[in-house]
Structures are given as C-alpha cells and as structure tokens.
Amino acid sequence: MKVLMFGWEFPPYSSGGLGTACYGLTKGLSRQNMEVTFVVPYDVEIESDFVKLLSTNIKIKRIKSLLQPYLSSASYSTILSKKKKRPFPKIYGETLFEEVYRYGEAAKEIAMEEDFDIIHCHDWLTFKAGINAKELSGKPLVVHVHATEFDRTGGHGVNQQVYDTERGGMEKADRIIAVSNYTKQKIVQHYGIHPDKIIVVHNAIEIPEEIHFDINKQDKVVLFLGRLTLQKGPDYFLYAAKKVLGYDPHIKFIIAGSGDMERFIIEKSAELGISSNVLFAGFLEGNDVYRAYRMADLYVMPSVSEPFGLTALESMRSGTPVLISNQSGVSEVITHCLKADFWDVNDIANKIVAALKYSELHHTLKEHGSLESHRFNWNEPAKKCVDIYNSLM
C-alpha cells in the first residue's frame, strides 16, 4: 500500500515531538511494508545518511514554505520580519494562513503526480493539503491530531481561523487519529466530532543507540525540557523550584528549550531570587537531548495541556525518572512515574524533593520506568495505522 503523508517537520529539520513522532511512525510503517511518501513544506537538502536512516520505502518531498510547527499566527509575523532582513525570496506569503493555503495548492500538484492509495496528514497546517489531495484523487483521508488549538493556547485566545481549519479537516477526514484519549476527549468536546470516528493511537519511541556520556556533576539536577510556552508549563516548574530550594538550596534546575516565554522565565527566576540555581541550556537537539536526560536526576514535564508527551518516554528510556502532569496523554499509558496536577505546585515540589531524597524511590522508578518504556515501540502504532488504512479501502 502507498501512503501520501503530509507533515510539517521531519528530523533532523524538526524542533519538537511532532517531527520525532512522524519519523518513528514512518519508520514503523516501512517495517509493515508500507510505501510512504512524506511531504514537508520546506526546501532543504536531505543528507544521504539521513535517507538511508529512513529506509528506502520513504521518499522525502519538499515544498518551499516558511511553515514551522507550533507557530501561532502572532509569532509567525515575528519570524517573517526577522527573515526579511536577509535576502528574502518572494515565494513566501505574508501570513501563516497564506502559507497554509500555499501548502494546500502545492499538495494538488503532488496529488496529481504521485501514485498513492491513502492520504495521511499531521495537524492543522497540513489539513488543507490533505483535503485538496482527497478532492483531486478521491482517495480516503486520515487526519492525525498531535495537538489542538486548545492545547497550544491553554484554552485562552483560541484563534478562530486555526480552529476552523482544524474542524474542517476533522469533518472532511474519513478517520481521525488522536494521540491519546485525552486528545480524543478534546476533539469530541471542542470540535463536535462523533467519538466513533476517532481512533486513539498512542505514540511510541525508537530506541536510541547506546550513547555513552561522561557526566561530571556534584549537585542533584532537575530538568525541564520543552518549548518555553504556556502549554508546557515552565512557569509552574519555576514556582516548584522556588519551593524545593527552600528545602534544599543545593539542587540545580536546568531549563532546556526556547520559546515566547523565555524572557519571562529568565526574569521570573531572578525575581524569585533563585537565578543562581536555575540554568538555561537553550534549545537542544540530537544527542544533547539525551545527554540532558542522563545528566538529570529527575525530568519534570509540568504541561498545562499535553496531547501526548514523548519526552517522558525518552527520559525513562534514558534511565531518568519522570514527574509528569496528569493533564497529559502519556500519563494514560505509563504507571512507573510520578504524577501531579500542573497547578499543584506544592505537590510537584514535594515529589521533586522525594525523588531526590529517597534513593529507593529513585531506584525503583529508574528500574521499572526503564523497563516500562521498552514496551513502546513504533511497530504497534504503525500496525494500528495499517488497520485504519485497510478499514478505509
């Protein structure tokens, strides 16, 4: 079977969980003998070792566009203005929605050129592309929801145009894949979709190669790794850190990631008087991500609204215990971790201290968590996708 897939990022050109998930899923699908053509909206040279890594069943298609994942319409204009300072090709549209439109138009050409049996697209920026491809080809459309506008905005200031695009894609789709029951619930609740149309396929992780790191550190380290946006709850991490440091002033808190809250978080840590214990690592990629997990004694994911939360699995696989918010999809599928409500700073701080203070707790979480993370590989989700494809043939 041939799958035409529309995405918006793909490693190494990715900045978050979506690209990682698309990478894992396509790799899993290729093991199920699916031929996947993966379309990305940017013009980059794919390095040869990268293609080899993907296996030969996946072709990478490129479209010129400014699209980046996780953008809100407002932050798109900022990027656009930065780009304008450099030689700037006319091809870029003026707004994010123009880019979405452009991606959709390009999809029409691809739909006519390519030979495929099913269309599978990932999140709202690709939904127009998916719908166009479906209308031209008459092939079934699967939309995969990794996050909704309600997750990205925390429910405040939902952009109507984004919402309409999401809802349009969900309505036009023949089947919707949600990355968790948490997300399925949101789709039913906010988009009025019948639950029977939505199938939950939890994410997984690909086992990273054993990488050896020499970690030299004296202090206990607590890690935050994610975009510094409202959705990821870096502010709650900071408030918890303040509380923990009142108990033990030697603990170090590392914040890895960038985003529109970066300034706020840096200023806030100074205001709270904890800047000497809060270190900013910036945006990490590749092996540095795993180095960060290994260096940490605990990974905290205090997301306000997390459709899945792949980083929790990555950390557990790296042997670092995790504390995750109950408001996450991954909390549905893992048990050997600590959980708290993102707003309950006291509980988060209590659990951070406990994980560092009680070595038997740390030991049990590490051992059981690592074992548990091995249950998640991309073969299962890929098989579920194949079942969905077959049901639509």
Partner: protein, 409 residues
C-alpha cells in the same frame, strides 16, 4: 461429617494523608481523618451493620447450629469507636450470643513478626486487652496479619499458649494434600493448623459476582453441593475471607446477602454437616499429618507469599527503617509518638507501595487510596522522617537536661 468454619477478617488501616516533605518537623499529624471517617462510615453502612444484623438473626434462628468467628484489628476498632460506635455495639451483641469466636492478632495489623518479636508480642497483648475490654473475650486461636505463616511463627504462637493457628491452604504448601483436614506445623508439638480452603472461600469472596466465571451465578444450591462433595474425603472446610466481602466488595445488588441468608439452612439440610468455630474445630478434629512450612505463606495475590509487601526495594527499605528505630521510639516514653509509629506499621501502607501492577495489580489498585505506589511511598517516608525528627528532639532534650544537671553539679 463436614464442618464449616467461617472466619471473617475485619480491618481498616489508619490511612495516611498527603503528607508532604515540607511538613516534616512542622506537623506531626500524618493521618487522613476525613477519609478514614468517610470509609469507616461507608463500609459500616454497606457491610458491618447489615451483615452483623443478618448474622445475629441467623444465629438466633438456628439456635446454636450456626456460628462464625471474627478477627477484628485494633486500628479498625479504634475507628469504629470514634466514628461509628454502633458497629462496636453490634459486635457486642454478637459476642453475647456465645456463638461467636474472636481471634487473636496484632493490634496494628502489622508485619512485626518478621522484624521484631518483642514488638510483635506487645501488639498481640494490646489486642488481647482490647478483646477483653470490648467483648469480655479471651482469644484462644491466633491468626497473623494477612494469614502470613511459617514454622517459626507456629513455634512462637505455641509458646504463647495458643491451641490453634490459621494459615492459607496454598497449593505450594499442601502439594497433593487437602486443606480439609487439621494439620500440625512440623516443628510444633501441640498447636493445630487450620488451613483456608481457598477455592471455596474465593468462590464467595472474589468470584461471586464475576460474570466471566463459568459457575456464575453462584447459587446456594450449587455451593452446598460442593460442600457436600467433601463428605467422605475431608472433615473441615475453612471459609476464611474479608468481612467486607458482604456488601462492600460484593455489593448488595449481587445477591450476596441473600446467599448468606440461605446458607445455614441449605448447608444444614445435609444431616452430616455442621458449623464450628476455629476453637471447636481444634477440639473436635485430630491432626492428620504434619506440614513443613519454612518459607512464609500468606493469602495475598496469586503468589500467596510476601511479595505484596516485600516485592520491591521501597517496601523492604521502608520496613527495615521503621523497625530500625524501635528502641529509640520506645526509649522516648512518648506515648503519642509510640502510637503513631505503630500505626505506621500497619501492613496496608506497604501493600500500597506494591509495584506488581499487571494481573494482581487491579486488586492492589482497588485497595489503594493513593494514585500510585510511588505516592504511597512518598507520604509514608515523609511521615517516617518526621517520626525520626521527633526522636531526635527527645534525645536532644534528654541531653539538655543532663547537661543542665551536670552544670548545676
């Protein structure tokens, strides 16, 4: 002749509240009084009160032919006294019939036998006093927490003067033998061992309302037929279960009360059947053979061993730590501190820390008031750390007094 011997376990732990690390040395109240009260009231209304009334009616109706036994923990009795005193009264009414036997156990439903024989002995005698005070009853048969048993316990309990002791009739202990006879622990001289018939007990306690079970629904006719089948190849069927089976684990709607109500009449239809209490069983039946039980058995989970409480490092270490401070706690002579330390010994706290999720995990989940075994461990360890802080304060003040005395001298 087949004798049916009912023993019901009545237990409620003092559950811990979400005691955070920030409260250590600031707040010494570890227990979730609200939740404990709610649960005590709920279970009293669903189970203890209606079931006690039913048992009382059945005892009266069958004038001497129907009898049962109970083991009621000290922690449960304290909660009844505080939150639902009518439960105490209803047990006292049962005691007055003289058809009810009360068993001996550790006051705090603890694992103390495995860690400290002194503490074990003290808790058993605390429980004995409570039985005497509330029910004017002197127990003669012993049951250990969660039916944990091995030869060593048999010897110890024999030494304390008991004539009988209860244990799980686990397959790996019995082998080809039947639980429907009286045994003696290999290392003991006098004490008799009564073994739970786990098949027939669990048919009521666990499977009664299980729709996927091929025998569902369990009618009283079917059950008495299974009992009658024992006639000729056994003389005693020990039906040991949690009392909360009636109305709490098996809800009233499942028909469990109707089943219990009809049980004595149906069983007694067969002229060779009767009901006995554990003491009577011990009097009535001779030892068939010896059993050599070196490794502890229990009635928990499919393993029927100690793995529900000692299966991971959090459990073994927290148990080790709580008994490591025994002497210091007792030296403090602080009765509130000693009481809190003992309440922390209740086996349930360690059961909640169990990480054997899959298969048995659902049972653990049902009984776990916390979200995860890790949370249970955190609250427990925070409380234990506060206990340690209180010990240090006692030791410091003792030193201060000494220093003061010396400086005066």
């Amino acid at each position: 002749m087949v004798s049916l011997c009912f023993y019901f376990q009545v237990h409620q732990p003092a559950r811990l509240r979400k005691y955070t690390v920030f409260e250590i040395n600031n707040n010494h109240d570890y227990f979730d009084h609200k939740k404990n009260r709610e649960i005590a009231k709920k279970v009293a209304n669903k189970c203890y009160l209606p079931t006690n009334k039913l048992i009382l009616d059945l005892i009266k109706k069958h004038s001497g032919a129907f009898k049962v036994s109970y083991s009621i923990t000290g922690t449960a009795l304290e909660q009844f006294e505080e939150y639902v005193p009518e439960v105490i009264q209803s047990f006292q009414e049962l005691a007055d019939t003289k058809q009810v036997e009360f068993l001996s156990e550790t006051y705090h439903h603890s694992l103390s036998f495995l860690y400290s024989k002194d503490e074990f002995r003290e808790q058993v005698s605390m429980h004995k006093e409570k039985m005497l005070k509330l029910f004017n009853y002197k127990p003669k048969v012993f049951r250990n927490t969660e039916l944990i048993f091995n030869n060593e316990l048999g010897n110890f309990i024999e030494g304390m003067g008991y004539k009988g002791i209860l244990a799980e009739g686990a397959d790996h202990v019995l082998g080809w033998r039947s639980p429907n006879f009286v045994y003696r622990p290999k290392t003991c001289n006098k004490i008799k061992l009564l073994l739970k018939n786990y098949k027939l007990s669990d048919d009521i306690a666990f499977r009664f309302s299980e729709k996927s079970w091929k025998e569902h629904p369990l009618t009283i006719e079917k059950f008495s037929q299974w009992v009658n089948e024992v006639n000729g190849n056994g003389n005693l069927i020990n039906l040991f279960m949690d009392y909360e089976t009636f109305g709490e684990h098996q809800w009233s709607q499942t028909g469990i009360f109707r089943f219990l109500k009809n049980l004595p009449t149906e069983i007694l239809k067969h002229p060779d059947n009767n009901f006995v209490t554990p003491s009577e069983a011990v009097e009535k039946y001779d030892v068939t053979s010896e059993l050599d039980i070196h490794n502890p058995v229990s009635w928990a989970d499919v393993e029927r061993d100690l793995s529900a409480w000692l299966g991971n490092k959090m459990q073994t270490e927290s148990l080790r730590e709580i008994y490591a401070i025994e002497q210091q706690v007792k030296d403090s002579k602080d009765s509130k501190l000693i009481e809190d330390w003992r309440k922390l010994q209740t086996s349930d706290h360690f059961y909640y820390m169990c990480t054997k999720w899959f298969a048995d995990g659902d049972v653990h989940k049902y009984f776990n008031p916390y979200d995860s075994p890790y949370d249970s461990y955190i609250f427990f360890m925070n409380a234990l750390n506060d206990v340690m802080g209180r010990i240090r304060n006692h030791e410091l003040s003792k030193e201060n007094i000494q220093n003061f005395a010396e400086s005066k001298a």
